[in-house]
Protein backbone atom coordinates (compact mmCIF):
# COMPACT_ATOMS: atom_id res chain seq x y z
CA UNK A 1 0.00 0.00 0.00
CA UNK A 2 1.83 3.03 -1.24
CA UNK A 3 0.21 6.37 -0.94
CA UNK A 4 1.21 9.97 -0.75
CA UNK A 5 2.38 11.06 2.63
CA UNK A 6 -0.24 11.17 5.31
CA UNK A 7 -1.40 14.65 6.00
CA UNK A 8 -2.09 16.41 9.21
CA UNK A 9 -0.77 13.78 11.53
CA UNK A 10 -0.72 16.29 14.30
CA UNK A 11 -1.92 19.70 13.23
CA UNK A 12 -1.98 22.67 15.50
CA UNK A 13 0.76 23.86 17.71
CA UNK A 14 1.61 24.33 21.32
CA UNK A 15 1.93 20.70 22.32
CA UNK A 16 5.66 20.66 22.56
CA UNK A 17 6.07 22.00 26.02
CA UNK A 18 4.14 21.22 29.13
CA UNK A 19 4.75 24.60 30.72
CA UNK A 20 3.10 26.53 27.90
CA UNK A 21 6.34 28.07 26.69
CA UNK A 22 7.02 28.23 23.00
CA UNK A 23 9.29 25.45 21.79
CA UNK A 24 11.75 26.13 19.01
CA UNK A 25 13.60 23.30 17.32
CA UNK A 26 16.87 24.60 15.92
CA UNK A 27 18.94 22.38 13.66
CA UNK A 28 22.42 23.82 13.40
CA UNK A 29 24.89 22.82 10.69
CA UNK A 30 27.69 22.05 13.06
CA UNK A 31 30.46 23.81 14.86
CA UNK A 32 33.00 23.96 12.11
CA UNK A 33 34.27 27.45 12.92
CA UNK A 34 34.32 30.16 15.53
CA UNK A 35 31.81 32.01 13.39
CA UNK A 36 29.39 29.12 13.65
CA UNK A 37 29.87 28.84 17.37
CA UNK A 38 29.08 32.53 17.75
CA UNK A 39 25.98 31.94 15.68
CA UNK A 40 24.89 29.09 17.95
CA UNK A 41 25.61 31.06 21.08
CA UNK A 42 23.61 33.99 19.82
CA UNK A 43 20.59 31.78 19.16
CA UNK A 44 20.92 30.14 22.54
CA UNK A 45 21.15 33.38 24.47
CA UNK A 46 18.38 35.04 22.57
CA UNK A 47 16.07 32.08 23.18
CA UNK A 48 16.71 32.23 26.88
CA UNK A 49 16.14 35.94 26.94
CA UNK A 50 12.92 35.60 24.99
CA UNK A 51 11.63 32.81 27.21
CA UNK A 52 11.55 30.28 24.41
CA UNK A 53 12.46 26.65 25.06
CA UNK A 54 15.20 25.71 22.63
CA UNK A 55 15.63 22.20 21.28
CA UNK A 56 19.07 22.25 19.74
CA UNK A 57 20.57 19.73 17.41
CA UNK A 58 23.96 19.67 15.79
CA UNK A 59 24.28 18.04 12.38
CA UNK A 60 28.06 17.78 12.24
CA UNK A 61 28.00 19.30 8.75
CA UNK A 62 25.84 16.56 7.33
CA UNK A 63 22.60 17.19 5.56
CA UNK A 64 21.35 13.71 6.43
CA UNK A 65 21.74 14.52 10.07
CA UNK A 66 19.94 17.79 9.71
CA UNK A 67 17.03 16.10 8.02
CA UNK A 68 16.95 13.51 10.78
CA UNK A 69 16.96 16.25 13.37
CA UNK A 70 14.05 18.02 11.71
CA UNK A 71 12.15 14.72 11.67
CA UNK A 72 12.77 14.35 15.35
CA UNK A 73 11.49 17.86 15.97
CA UNK A 74 8.34 16.95 14.08
CA UNK A 75 8.10 13.83 16.20
CA UNK A 76 8.44 15.90 19.33
CA UNK A 77 5.81 18.33 18.09
CA UNK A 78 7.75 21.53 18.57
CA UNK A 79 6.04 24.84 17.76
CA UNK A 80 8.51 26.27 15.30
CA UNK A 81 11.46 24.78 13.45
CA UNK A 82 14.43 26.86 12.44
CA UNK A 83 17.54 25.64 10.72
CA UNK A 84 20.62 26.73 8.82
CA UNK A 85 20.70 24.53 5.75
CA UNK A 86 24.02 22.86 5.00
CA UNK A 87 23.22 23.34 1.32
CA UNK A 88 20.37 24.86 -0.64
CA UNK A 89 18.98 21.75 -2.25
CA UNK A 90 17.18 18.69 -1.09
CA UNK A 91 14.83 19.91 1.59
CA UNK A 92 11.47 19.48 -0.05
CA UNK A 93 10.53 16.14 1.42
CA UNK A 94 11.20 16.92 5.02
CA UNK A 95 9.79 20.44 4.75
CA UNK A 96 6.60 18.96 3.39
CA UNK A 97 6.45 16.70 6.38
CA UNK A 98 6.78 19.71 8.62
CA UNK A 99 4.12 21.53 6.70
CA UNK A 100 1.81 18.56 6.97
CA UNK A 101 2.42 18.47 10.68
CA UNK A 102 1.50 22.14 10.78
CA UNK A 103 4.85 23.31 12.06
CA UNK A 104 6.12 26.58 10.55
CA UNK A 105 9.73 26.69 9.41
CA UNK A 106 12.23 29.55 9.44
CA UNK A 107 15.47 29.39 7.51
CA UNK A 108 18.51 31.07 8.93
CA UNK A 109 21.86 31.97 7.49
CA UNK A 110 21.33 30.25 4.14
CA UNK A 111 18.37 29.91 1.81
CA UNK A 112 16.96 26.79 0.23
CA UNK A 113 16.15 26.50 -3.45
CA UNK A 114 12.66 25.04 -3.03
CA UNK A 115 10.21 25.88 -5.78
CA UNK A 116 7.35 25.57 -3.34
CA UNK A 117 7.71 28.72 -1.30
CA UNK A 118 4.92 27.72 1.05
CA UNK A 119 7.30 25.27 2.64
CA UNK A 120 8.94 27.90 4.83
CA UNK A 121 7.75 31.13 6.32
CA UNK A 122 10.77 33.30 6.05
CA UNK A 123 14.49 33.49 5.56
CA UNK A 124 16.78 35.30 7.89
CA UNK A 125 20.40 35.58 7.00
CA UNK A 126 23.23 36.70 4.86
CA UNK A 127 23.76 36.65 1.17
CA UNK A 128 27.08 35.06 0.37
CA UNK A 129 27.01 36.22 -3.22
CA UNK A 130 26.60 39.76 -1.99
CA UNK A 131 29.59 39.32 0.29
CA UNK A 132 31.69 38.25 -2.66
CA UNK A 133 30.47 41.23 -4.58
CA UNK A 134 31.33 43.60 -1.76
CA UNK A 135 34.85 42.20 -1.70
CA UNK A 136 35.11 42.69 -5.43
CA UNK A 137 33.77 46.21 -5.25
CA UNK A 138 36.36 47.21 -2.68
CA UNK A 139 39.08 45.84 -4.90
CA UNK A 140 37.86 47.68 -7.94
CA UNK A 141 37.71 50.89 -5.98
CA UNK A 142 41.14 50.40 -4.46
CA UNK A 143 42.76 50.06 -7.85
CA UNK A 144 40.72 52.72 -9.54
CA UNK A 145 42.79 54.77 -11.90
CA UNK A 146 45.68 52.40 -12.36
CA UNK A 147 45.97 50.30 -15.45
CA UNK A 148 48.77 48.04 -14.38
CA UNK A 149 47.78 44.41 -14.08
CA UNK A 150 46.71 43.30 -10.62
CA UNK A 151 47.47 39.72 -9.69
CA UNK A 152 44.98 38.21 -7.28
CA UNK A 153 45.22 34.91 -5.45
CA UNK A 154 42.13 33.40 -3.97
CA UNK A 155 41.81 31.11 -0.97
CA UNK A 156 38.55 29.28 -1.38
CA UNK A 157 36.49 27.70 1.32
CA UNK A 158 35.73 24.00 1.44
CA UNK A 159 35.20 22.83 -2.12
CA UNK A 160 31.52 22.57 -2.90
CA UNK A 161 30.28 24.38 0.19
CA UNK A 162 27.73 27.12 -0.37
CA UNK A 163 29.75 30.06 1.02
CA UNK A 164 32.74 29.03 -1.06
CA UNK A 165 30.71 28.74 -4.24
CA UNK A 166 28.86 32.00 -3.69
CA UNK A 167 31.73 34.14 -2.46
CA UNK A 168 33.78 33.00 -5.41
CA UNK A 169 30.97 33.68 -7.85
CA UNK A 170 30.09 37.10 -6.40
CA UNK A 171 33.70 38.22 -6.45
CA UNK A 172 34.31 36.96 -9.96
CA UNK A 173 31.19 38.66 -11.21
CA UNK A 174 32.42 42.09 -10.14
CA UNK A 175 36.07 41.65 -10.97
CA UNK A 176 35.69 40.13 -14.40
CA UNK A 177 34.48 43.52 -15.73
CA UNK A 178 38.03 44.82 -15.63
CA UNK A 179 40.74 42.89 -17.52
CA UNK A 180 43.55 44.25 -15.36
CA UNK A 181 42.47 41.97 -12.54
CA UNK A 182 43.81 38.52 -12.98
CA UNK A 183 43.14 35.67 -10.55
CA UNK A 184 46.47 33.90 -10.93
CA UNK A 185 45.82 31.14 -8.45
CA UNK A 186 42.79 29.86 -6.68
CA UNK A 187 42.92 26.94 -4.31
CA UNK A 188 40.89 25.62 -1.44
CA UNK A 189 42.09 26.31 2.08
CA UNK A 190 39.21 24.47 3.71
CA UNK A 191 38.28 27.55 5.78
CA UNK A 192 41.12 26.78 8.22
CA UNK A 193 44.18 28.70 9.32
CA UNK A 194 46.58 25.83 8.88
CA UNK A 195 45.45 25.10 5.35
CA UNK A 196 45.36 28.81 4.52
CA UNK A 197 48.97 29.18 5.56
CA UNK A 198 50.11 26.07 3.77
CA UNK A 199 48.47 27.01 0.50
CA UNK A 200 49.63 30.62 0.67
CA UNK A 201 53.17 29.47 1.25
CA UNK A 202 53.01 27.45 -1.94
CA UNK A 203 51.46 30.37 -3.83
CA UNK A 204 54.24 32.66 -2.72
CA UNK A 205 56.78 30.30 -4.16
CA UNK A 206 55.10 29.63 -7.46
CA UNK A 207 53.96 33.21 -8.15
CA UNK A 208 56.45 36.02 -8.04
CA UNK A 209 54.23 39.06 -7.89
CA UNK A 210 51.04 38.66 -5.97
CA UNK A 211 49.27 41.93 -5.35
CA UNK A 212 46.08 40.91 -3.64
CA UNK A 213 44.86 38.03 -1.53
CA UNK A 214 41.16 37.33 -1.39
CA UNK A 215 40.28 34.83 1.33
CA UNK A 216 36.80 33.39 1.71
CA UNK A 217 37.03 33.68 5.47
CA UNK A 218 39.11 35.31 8.15
CA UNK A 219 40.76 32.16 9.40
CA UNK A 220 42.36 31.43 6.06
CA UNK A 221 43.39 35.06 5.76
CA UNK A 222 45.02 34.97 9.18
CA UNK A 223 46.94 31.83 8.24
CA UNK A 224 47.98 33.34 4.94
CA UNK A 225 49.22 36.51 6.64
CA UNK A 226 51.71 34.43 8.60
CA UNK A 227 52.92 32.87 5.38
CA UNK A 228 53.32 36.30 3.79
CA UNK A 229 55.30 37.55 6.74
CA UNK A 230 57.56 34.52 6.71
CA UNK A 231 58.24 35.15 3.03
CA UNK A 232 59.58 38.52 4.05
CA UNK A 233 56.71 40.57 2.71
CA UNK A 234 54.31 42.88 4.44
CA UNK A 235 50.71 41.80 4.44
CA UNK A 236 48.38 44.71 3.85
CA UNK A 237 51.06 46.62 2.01
CA UNK A 238 53.03 44.38 -0.33
CA UNK A 239 50.06 42.12 -0.67
CA UNK A 240 46.64 43.53 0.02
CA UNK A 241 44.36 41.25 1.96
CA UNK A 242 40.59 41.00 1.58
CA UNK A 243 38.67 38.77 3.90
CA UNK A 244 35.12 37.82 4.80
CA UNK A 245 33.36 37.16 8.16
CA UNK A 246 34.68 39.71 10.63
CA UNK A 247 35.88 37.76 13.64
CA UNK A 248 37.69 39.54 16.41
CA UNK A 249 41.15 38.32 15.41
CA UNK A 250 40.60 39.74 11.95
CA UNK A 251 39.85 43.12 13.41
CA UNK A 252 43.00 42.95 15.47
CA UNK A 253 44.94 42.15 12.33
CA UNK A 254 43.21 44.97 10.55
CA UNK A 255 44.22 47.32 13.30
CA UNK A 256 47.79 46.14 12.80
CA UNK A 257 47.32 47.02 9.10
CA UNK A 258 47.71 43.43 8.04
CA UNK A 259 44.26 43.06 6.58
CA UNK A 260 42.92 45.77 4.33
CA UNK A 261 39.25 45.07 4.40
CA UNK A 262 36.79 42.70 6.04
CA UNK A 263 33.38 42.03 4.60
CA UNK A 264 31.18 41.25 7.54
CA UNK A 265 29.03 38.20 7.70
CA UNK A 266 27.10 38.55 10.88
CA UNK A 267 26.36 35.45 12.91
CA UNK A 268 24.51 37.29 15.68
CA UNK A 269 21.03 36.81 14.42
CA UNK A 270 19.56 35.30 17.60
CA UNK A 271 17.41 38.22 18.62
CA UNK A 272 16.06 38.75 15.14
CA UNK A 273 15.30 35.06 14.94
CA UNK A 274 13.34 35.03 18.20
CA UNK A 275 11.26 37.96 17.04
CA UNK A 276 10.34 36.02 13.93
CA UNK A 277 9.65 32.86 15.91
CA UNK A 278 7.19 34.62 18.13
CA UNK A 279 5.43 36.21 15.20
CA UNK A 280 5.29 33.03 13.20
CA UNK A 281 3.99 31.05 16.14
CA UNK A 282 1.30 33.60 16.70
CA UNK A 283 0.29 33.30 13.08
CA UNK A 284 1.25 36.87 12.22
CA UNK A 285 2.59 37.53 8.76
CA UNK A 286 6.31 38.10 8.35
CA UNK A 287 8.40 39.33 5.44
CA UNK A 288 9.69 36.56 3.16
CA UNK A 289 13.23 37.66 3.55
CA UNK A 290 14.97 39.39 6.42
CA UNK A 291 18.58 40.39 6.00
CA UNK A 292 20.94 40.54 8.94
CA UNK A 293 22.71 43.81 9.45
CA UNK A 294 26.16 43.54 7.94
CA UNK A 295 28.85 45.96 6.94
CA UNK A 296 32.15 46.34 5.17
CA UNK A 297 34.99 47.37 7.47
CA UNK A 298 38.21 49.01 6.39
CA UNK A 299 41.38 49.63 8.36
CA UNK A 300 40.37 53.09 9.58
CA UNK A 301 37.10 51.73 11.00
CA UNK A 302 38.80 48.77 12.64
CA UNK A 303 39.94 50.44 15.82
CA UNK A 304 36.51 51.85 16.49
CA UNK A 305 34.70 48.61 15.76
CA UNK A 306 37.03 46.30 17.62
CA UNK A 307 35.75 46.74 21.17
CA UNK A 308 32.26 45.87 20.00
CA UNK A 309 33.18 42.57 18.41
CA UNK A 310 31.71 39.73 20.40
CA UNK A 311 33.25 36.73 18.67
Amino acid sequence: TTEPAPTGTTGGTGKGSSDGKLVLGFAQVGAESGWRTANTESVREAAEKAGITLKFSDAQQKQENQIKAIRTFIQQKVDVIAFSPVVESGWDTVLKEAKNAGIPVILTDRAVDSQDTSLYQTFLGSDFVKEGQEAGKWLVKEYEGTSEPVNVVELQGTTGSAPANDRKAGFAEVVKGDPKFKVVASQTGDFTRAKGKEVMQAFLKSHEDIDVLYAHNDDMALGAIQAIEEAGKKPGTDIKVISVDGIKDAFVAMQEKKINVVVECNPLLGDQLMELVKKVAAGESVPRRVEVEEGVFTQDQAAAALPGRQY
Binding site: T1, T2, E3, P4, A5, P6, T9, G25, Q28, G30, A31, T37, T40, L54, K55, F56, S57, D58, Q60, Q61, K62, Q63, E64, N65, I67, K68, A69, R71, T72, F73, Q75, Q76, K77, V86, V87, E88, S89, G90, W91, D92, T93, K96, D113, Q115, T158, T159, G160, S161, A162, A164, N165
Partner: protein, 332 residues
Protein backbone atom coordinates in the same frame (compact mmCIF):
# COMPACT_ATOMS: atom_id res chain seq x y z
CA UNK B 1 38.05 -50.46 15.17
CA UNK B 2 36.66 -47.25 16.43
CA UNK B 3 38.39 -43.97 16.71
CA UNK B 4 37.89 -42.36 20.05
CA UNK B 5 37.02 -38.86 19.11
CA UNK B 6 35.26 -37.94 22.24
CA UNK B 7 32.89 -35.13 21.74
CA UNK B 8 33.81 -31.99 23.55
CA UNK B 9 31.47 -31.22 26.40
CA UNK B 10 30.58 -27.76 25.14
CA UNK B 11 29.47 -28.73 21.73
CA UNK B 12 26.44 -26.48 21.80
CA UNK B 13 28.23 -23.42 22.94
CA UNK B 14 31.10 -23.91 20.56
CA UNK B 15 28.75 -24.05 17.63
CA UNK B 16 26.69 -21.13 18.75
CA UNK B 17 29.42 -19.01 20.24
CA UNK B 18 29.58 -17.00 17.04
CA UNK B 19 25.99 -15.96 17.41
CA UNK B 20 26.20 -14.88 21.04
CA UNK B 21 27.47 -11.35 20.32
CA UNK B 22 24.55 -10.90 17.96
CA UNK B 23 22.09 -11.72 20.72
CA UNK B 24 23.90 -9.52 23.17
CA UNK B 25 23.80 -6.64 20.71
CA UNK B 26 20.09 -7.12 20.14
CA UNK B 27 19.44 -7.17 23.88
CA UNK B 28 21.45 -4.02 24.42
CA UNK B 29 19.52 -2.37 21.66
CA UNK B 30 16.25 -3.18 23.38
CA UNK B 31 17.66 -1.85 26.63
CA UNK B 32 18.72 1.35 24.92
CA UNK B 33 15.29 1.85 23.44
CA UNK B 34 13.65 1.25 26.82
CA UNK B 35 15.87 3.77 28.54
CA UNK B 36 15.13 6.28 25.80
CA UNK B 37 11.42 5.70 26.25
CA UNK B 38 11.56 6.27 29.96
CA UNK B 39 13.72 9.32 29.54
CA UNK B 40 12.09 11.19 26.70
CA UNK B 41 8.53 12.08 25.99
CA UNK B 42 7.34 10.83 22.63
CA UNK B 43 10.25 8.41 22.33
CA UNK B 44 8.24 5.29 23.04
CA UNK B 45 6.51 4.85 19.76
CA UNK B 46 6.91 2.46 16.92
CA UNK B 47 7.28 5.40 14.58
CA UNK B 48 10.48 6.46 16.31
CA UNK B 49 11.93 3.09 15.47
CA UNK B 50 10.62 3.28 11.95
CA UNK B 51 12.13 6.71 11.59
CA UNK B 52 15.48 5.22 12.50
CA UNK B 53 15.00 2.98 9.51
CA UNK B 54 13.74 5.78 7.28
CA UNK B 55 16.70 7.96 8.18
CA UNK B 56 19.24 5.18 7.84
CA UNK B 57 17.94 3.03 5.03
CA UNK B 58 20.71 4.16 2.73
CA UNK B 59 23.33 3.56 5.38
CA UNK B 60 21.97 0.07 5.89
CA UNK B 61 22.28 -0.74 2.21
CA UNK B 62 25.82 0.63 2.09
CA UNK B 63 26.79 -1.24 5.24
CA UNK B 64 25.43 -4.48 3.82
CA UNK B 65 27.74 -4.13 0.84
CA UNK B 66 30.57 -3.34 3.25
CA UNK B 67 29.78 -6.52 5.17
CA UNK B 68 30.59 -8.61 2.12
CA UNK B 69 33.94 -6.90 1.72
CA UNK B 70 34.87 -7.07 5.39
CA UNK B 71 33.90 -10.74 5.56
CA UNK B 72 36.60 -11.47 2.98
CA UNK B 73 39.07 -9.58 5.13
CA UNK B 74 39.09 -6.54 2.87
CA UNK B 75 37.85 -3.02 3.31
CA UNK B 76 36.13 -0.54 1.01
CA UNK B 77 36.74 3.12 1.72
CA UNK B 78 35.16 4.29 -1.49
CA UNK B 79 31.54 3.77 -0.46
CA UNK B 80 30.86 7.26 0.88
CA UNK B 81 32.18 8.92 -2.26
CA UNK B 82 30.40 6.37 -4.39
CA UNK B 83 27.16 7.33 -2.67
CA UNK B 84 27.85 10.99 -3.40
CA UNK B 85 28.72 10.20 -6.99
CA UNK B 86 25.46 8.31 -7.39
CA UNK B 87 23.41 11.22 -6.09
CA UNK B 88 25.32 13.54 -8.35
CA UNK B 89 25.02 11.30 -11.36
CA UNK B 90 21.31 10.80 -10.84
CA UNK B 91 20.70 14.50 -10.44
CA UNK B 92 22.84 15.29 -13.44
CA UNK B 93 21.26 12.69 -15.69
CA UNK B 94 17.70 13.34 -14.64
CA UNK B 95 17.79 17.06 -14.05
CA UNK B 96 20.34 18.43 -16.48
CA UNK B 97 20.07 15.89 -19.25
CA UNK B 98 16.42 15.02 -18.93
CA UNK B 99 17.01 11.30 -18.88
CA UNK B 100 14.00 9.42 -17.52
CA UNK B 101 14.55 8.08 -14.04
CA UNK B 102 13.93 4.55 -15.23
CA UNK B 103 17.02 4.85 -17.41
CA UNK B 104 19.14 6.77 -14.95
CA UNK B 105 18.77 4.16 -12.22
CA UNK B 106 20.33 1.28 -14.15
CA UNK B 107 23.11 3.56 -15.37
CA UNK B 108 23.96 4.58 -11.83
CA UNK B 109 23.83 1.02 -10.55
CA UNK B 110 26.07 -0.09 -13.38
CA UNK B 111 28.59 2.63 -12.66
CA UNK B 112 28.68 1.57 -9.01
CA UNK B 113 29.04 -2.10 -9.69
CA UNK B 114 31.55 -1.49 -12.46
CA UNK B 115 33.66 0.81 -10.31
CA UNK B 116 33.62 -1.74 -7.52
CA UNK B 117 34.56 -4.56 -9.84
CA UNK B 118 37.42 -2.52 -11.23
CA UNK B 119 38.80 -1.90 -7.77
CA UNK B 120 38.38 -5.57 -6.94
CA UNK B 121 40.26 -6.52 -10.05
CA UNK B 122 43.15 -4.17 -9.27
CA UNK B 123 43.31 -5.53 -5.72
CA UNK B 124 43.38 -9.09 -6.93
CA UNK B 125 45.47 -8.86 -10.06
CA UNK B 126 48.20 -6.59 -8.69
CA UNK B 127 48.08 -7.74 -5.09
CA UNK B 128 47.70 -4.22 -3.75
CA UNK B 129 46.22 -3.66 -0.33
CA UNK B 130 42.48 -2.97 -0.51
CA UNK B 131 42.86 0.03 1.74
CA UNK B 132 44.98 1.96 -0.71
CA UNK B 133 43.06 0.95 -3.83
CA UNK B 134 39.70 1.87 -2.37
CA UNK B 135 41.17 5.07 -0.97
CA UNK B 136 42.12 6.00 -4.51
CA UNK B 137 38.58 5.05 -5.49
CA UNK B 138 37.30 7.33 -2.76
CA UNK B 139 39.32 10.27 -4.07
CA UNK B 140 38.34 9.53 -7.63
CA UNK B 141 34.61 9.25 -7.03
CA UNK B 142 34.51 12.42 -4.95
CA UNK B 143 36.64 14.18 -7.54
CA UNK B 144 34.27 13.14 -10.31
CA UNK B 145 31.42 14.66 -8.28
CA UNK B 146 33.20 17.99 -8.24
CA UNK B 147 33.87 17.70 -11.92
CA UNK B 148 30.15 17.32 -12.55
CA UNK B 149 29.42 20.31 -10.35
CA UNK B 150 30.53 21.89 -7.14
CA UNK B 151 27.02 23.09 -6.53
CA UNK B 152 24.23 21.10 -5.09
CA UNK B 153 21.83 19.99 -7.84
CA UNK B 154 18.17 19.83 -6.88
CA UNK B 155 15.90 17.36 -8.50
CA UNK B 156 12.47 18.57 -9.44
CA UNK B 157 11.67 15.79 -11.84
CA UNK B 158 8.07 14.82 -10.99
CA UNK B 159 8.58 11.05 -10.96
CA UNK B 160 11.51 11.34 -8.64
CA UNK B 161 9.72 13.71 -6.30
CA UNK B 162 6.67 11.54 -6.24
CA UNK B 163 8.68 8.48 -5.33
CA UNK B 164 10.57 10.46 -2.76
CA UNK B 165 7.43 11.60 -1.04
CA UNK B 166 5.63 8.29 -1.21
CA UNK B 167 5.01 6.65 2.11
CA UNK B 168 4.21 3.04 2.69
CA UNK B 169 1.43 2.96 5.24
CA UNK B 170 1.46 0.34 7.91
CA UNK B 171 -1.31 -0.56 10.31
CA UNK B 172 -1.65 1.71 13.32
CA UNK B 173 -1.01 4.94 11.47
CA UNK B 174 2.61 4.04 11.06
CA UNK B 175 4.50 4.61 7.86
CA UNK B 176 7.86 3.99 6.26
CA UNK B 177 9.46 5.19 3.07
CA UNK B 178 9.92 2.90 0.07
CA UNK B 179 13.63 3.12 0.78
CA UNK B 180 13.07 1.17 3.98
CA UNK B 181 11.32 -1.56 2.07
CA UNK B 182 14.15 -1.68 -0.43
CA UNK B 183 16.77 -1.71 2.31
CA UNK B 184 15.05 -4.57 4.11
CA UNK B 185 14.74 -6.46 0.86
CA UNK B 186 18.46 -5.99 0.25
CA UNK B 187 19.10 -7.23 3.77
CA UNK B 188 17.06 -10.37 3.19
CA UNK B 189 18.76 -10.94 -0.13
CA UNK B 190 22.20 -10.45 1.36
CA UNK B 191 21.37 -12.91 4.10
CA UNK B 192 20.32 -15.53 1.59
CA UNK B 193 23.34 -14.90 -0.59
CA UNK B 194 25.80 -15.07 2.27
CA UNK B 195 24.38 -18.11 3.97
CA UNK B 196 22.78 -20.10 1.22
CA UNK B 197 24.82 -19.72 -1.93
CA UNK B 198 28.22 -20.97 -2.97
CA UNK B 199 29.35 -17.44 -3.56
CA UNK B 200 28.43 -16.50 0.01
CA UNK B 201 30.22 -19.45 1.52
CA UNK B 202 33.28 -18.68 -0.59
CA UNK B 203 33.19 -15.19 0.86
CA UNK B 204 33.45 -16.66 4.35
CA UNK B 205 36.15 -19.11 3.26
CA UNK B 206 38.19 -16.28 1.81
CA UNK B 207 37.97 -14.39 5.08
CA UNK B 208 38.93 -17.48 7.06
CA UNK B 209 42.17 -17.97 5.19
CA UNK B 210 42.76 -16.66 1.74
CA UNK B 211 45.69 -18.80 0.79
CA UNK B 212 43.90 -21.91 2.02
CA UNK B 213 40.87 -20.95 0.01
CA UNK B 214 43.05 -20.75 -3.06
CA UNK B 215 44.62 -24.13 -2.36
CA UNK B 216 41.19 -25.61 -1.75
CA UNK B 217 40.44 -24.74 -5.34
CA UNK B 218 37.98 -21.96 -4.64
CA UNK B 219 37.60 -19.19 -7.19
CA UNK B 220 39.43 -16.58 -5.14
CA UNK B 221 39.93 -13.98 -7.84
CA UNK B 222 36.39 -14.07 -9.09
CA UNK B 223 34.98 -13.87 -5.59
CA UNK B 224 37.12 -10.91 -4.68
CA UNK B 225 36.12 -8.99 -7.76
CA UNK B 226 32.49 -9.83 -7.10
CA UNK B 227 32.63 -8.78 -3.49
CA UNK B 228 33.86 -5.31 -4.38
CA UNK B 229 31.32 -5.18 -7.17
CA UNK B 230 28.59 -5.98 -4.63
CA UNK B 231 29.87 -3.22 -2.40
CA UNK B 232 29.96 -0.80 -5.31
CA UNK B 233 26.46 -1.83 -6.30
CA UNK B 234 25.19 -1.40 -2.76
CA UNK B 235 26.73 2.03 -2.47
CA UNK B 236 25.21 3.04 -5.78
CA UNK B 237 21.86 1.79 -4.56
CA UNK B 238 22.43 3.55 -1.25
CA UNK B 239 23.21 6.66 -3.26
CA UNK B 240 19.94 6.33 -5.13
CA UNK B 241 18.05 5.98 -1.87
CA UNK B 242 19.88 9.02 -0.56
CA UNK B 243 18.92 10.87 -3.72
CA UNK B 244 15.29 10.15 -2.96
CA UNK B 245 15.82 11.08 0.66
CA UNK B 246 17.40 14.42 -0.20
CA UNK B 247 16.07 15.07 -3.68
CA UNK B 248 19.41 16.47 -4.62
CA UNK B 249 22.81 15.53 -5.83
CA UNK B 250 25.73 17.04 -4.04
CA UNK B 251 29.44 16.40 -3.96
CA UNK B 252 29.56 16.80 -0.20
CA UNK B 253 26.84 14.25 0.53
CA UNK B 254 27.84 11.26 2.61
CA UNK B 255 31.22 12.61 3.67
CA UNK B 256 32.68 10.05 6.03
CA UNK B 257 29.90 7.56 5.45
CA UNK B 258 32.49 4.86 4.88
CA UNK B 259 33.39 5.13 8.54
CA UNK B 260 29.78 4.92 9.62
CA UNK B 261 29.35 1.85 7.47
CA UNK B 262 32.50 0.20 8.78
CA UNK B 263 31.51 1.06 12.33
CA UNK B 264 28.05 -0.41 11.83
CA UNK B 265 29.52 -3.62 10.46
CA UNK B 266 32.05 -3.98 13.23
CA UNK B 267 29.64 -3.05 16.01
CA UNK B 268 27.37 -5.67 14.52
CA UNK B 269 29.97 -8.25 15.48
CA UNK B 270 31.83 -8.82 12.23
CA UNK B 271 35.57 -9.22 12.59
CA UNK B 272 37.59 -6.77 10.58
CA UNK B 273 40.05 -9.57 9.88
CA UNK B 274 37.34 -11.40 8.00
CA UNK B 275 35.63 -14.73 8.07
CA UNK B 276 33.33 -14.17 10.99
CA UNK B 277 30.15 -12.17 11.25
CA UNK B 278 26.57 -11.88 10.13
CA UNK B 279 24.81 -9.44 7.92
CA UNK B 280 21.98 -9.28 10.44
CA UNK B 281 24.51 -7.96 12.92
CA UNK B 282 25.20 -5.17 10.47
CA UNK B 283 21.52 -4.26 10.56
CA UNK B 284 21.74 -4.11 14.34
CA UNK B 285 24.88 -2.00 14.08
CA UNK B 286 23.13 0.51 11.85
CA UNK B 287 20.22 0.61 14.28
CA UNK B 288 22.59 1.27 17.16
CA UNK B 289 24.13 4.23 15.36
CA UNK B 290 20.72 5.51 14.34
CA UNK B 291 19.27 5.15 17.80
CA UNK B 292 22.19 7.03 19.31
CA UNK B 293 21.44 9.85 16.87
CA UNK B 294 17.81 9.79 17.87
CA UNK B 295 18.58 9.88 21.56
CA UNK B 296 20.81 12.90 20.94
CA UNK B 297 18.09 14.67 18.98
CA UNK B 298 15.52 13.96 21.66
CA UNK B 299 17.87 15.25 24.31
CA UNK B 300 17.93 18.51 22.41
CA UNK B 301 19.99 20.45 24.91
CA UNK B 302 23.44 19.39 23.92
CA UNK B 303 25.87 21.81 22.44
CA UNK B 304 27.74 20.78 19.36
CA UNK B 305 30.69 19.43 21.24
CA UNK B 306 28.67 17.70 23.86
CA UNK B 307 26.84 16.01 21.01
CA UNK B 308 30.08 14.47 19.88
CA UNK B 309 31.18 13.55 23.33
CA UNK B 310 27.87 11.90 24.10
CA UNK B 311 27.85 9.98 20.82
CA UNK B 312 31.34 8.73 21.63
CA UNK B 313 30.35 7.99 25.19
CA UNK B 314 27.26 6.01 24.23
CA UNK B 315 29.31 4.09 21.71
CA UNK B 316 31.84 3.38 24.42
CA UNK B 317 29.25 2.14 26.90
CA UNK B 318 27.71 0.04 24.19
CA UNK B 319 30.85 -1.77 23.12
CA UNK B 320 31.89 -2.12 26.74
CA UNK B 321 28.67 -3.91 27.61
CA UNK B 322 28.92 -5.87 24.40
CA UNK B 323 32.35 -7.11 25.46
CA UNK B 324 31.36 -7.83 29.02
CA UNK B 325 28.32 -9.90 28.13
CA UNK B 326 29.42 -11.17 24.77
CA UNK B 327 31.94 -13.75 25.95
CA UNK B 328 35.66 -13.48 25.91
CA UNK B 329 36.68 -13.69 22.32
CA UNK B 330 40.18 -12.33 22.35
CA UNK B 331 41.22 -9.58 20.04
CA UNK B 332 42.53 -11.01 16.84
Amino acid sequence: MSTTLTKPLHRFSARHAARLPLMVTATLLVAMFSIGSVQYEGFFSAQVLLNVLIDNGFLLVVAIGMTFVILTGGIDLSVGSMVALSTMLTAWLVQQNGLPLALAVPVVLLVGAGGGALMGWVIHAFEIQPFIVTLAGMFLARGLCYMISTESLSITDPTTTRIAQTRVLLPGGLFVSPAVVIALAVLALAFVVLHHTRFGRTVYALGGNESSARLMGLPVGRTKVMVYAVSGLCSALGGLLLTFYMLSGYALHAVGMELDAIAAVVIGGTLLTGGSGFVLGTALGVTVLGLIQTVISFQGTLSSWWTRIVIGGLLFVFILLQRLFGGSRQAE
